[in-house]
Subunit: 175 residues, 2 copies
């Protein structure tokens, strides 16, 4: 298993370094790792990684930025897939349900999950200058949110936690 070996041998940059999106890194590793893990996961769940779904995931994995549904759709259409919104929204919904992609509500856009498979309710750091989106560990944040909810008897079933701001590089460049 190539992807697993690479992952174990040197650690998974995407998983271990939440700031990866903001720094120079071997993005080919991010892509190959996430794609490989996605395929294994989907198969293990008895589901099908169809051409459309795979292609959408690949497109999202090309960048650490969030991508709008219609940008993905244009890409799909140019490659001979359907060119109507449901084609891409269905694939995106599937990927999101399977934890392979996330919806960034602040941007009305989607981003590939950089560490699929691990149960997580992630948080996102969005740089307003370079538009990069980093998926950050949200265990503590999510815990705090659930604690607040618990106080009033509210059951948290899902959450979206997004921070807009500026990454270290962009702040340095501005100063």
């Amino acid at each position: 298993m190539g992807w697993k070996m690479a992952h174990d041998d040197q650690g998974c940059p995407g998983c271990e370094a939440p700031d990866l999106a903001f720094s120079r890194h071997d993005h080919g590793h991010c892509q190959a790792d996430a794609l490989g893990r996605a395929e294994v996961l989907i198969a293990a769940r008895g589901l099908r990684m169809t051409p459309v779904r795979q292609r959408v995931l690949e497109i999202l994995l090309e960048t650490h930025r969030a991508v709008g549904a219609y940008v993905v759709l244009d890409r799909l259409a140019a490659e001979g897939f359907g060119n109507q919104p449901p084609v891409v929204y269905r694939a995106l919904d599937f990927l999101e349900e399977q934890g392979l992609a996330h919806r960034i509500r602040r941007l009305n856009a989607f981003t590939a999950c950089m560490h699929p498979g691990e149960a997580h309710a992630p948080s996102f750091l969005i740089c307003r200058s370079c538009d990069l989106v980093a998926e950050a560990p949200a265990k503590a944040v999510r815990g705090a949110l659930e604690a607040v909810a618990l106080m009033v008897g509210f059951t948290v079933e899902g959450s979206n936690i997004e921070a807009m701001g500026q990454c270290a590089d962009c702040r340095g460049r501005a100063a």
Copy 2:
């Protein structure tokens, strides 16, 4: 100052009880209090609480649910205000900038701030059954988020923290 007296005399339900939206309460107090505080705040900042802005705020204050921009717009239009989207979006943007309303990104809708004036980056608990939205204290949550961001040198300038789930009442009713 009526609003302030009422607020001080018996405490402000909206400010002190994050679950207020989910329980029976004197909603007239929420409305009067928030509206009064809003007017004082805006005046203190040298800004103008115009008829459109005031009316939009009043409409948002009618309920603890989030209200879509076009619902507000229809109300405005029926009352003789302009009937084009910018009319309502400008008012909503103004109210949000002044901390008098919040955008619930998960719902593409807006809700009045129930404790304007206090510096806050709130979190929201959204009940999927009754659609009520409670503004919960997010100091701890926001702190956790900023801690994560700090680790990677990211500066948080704004955040949206929303939890979808079920309130105590609705959960009880379902069981």
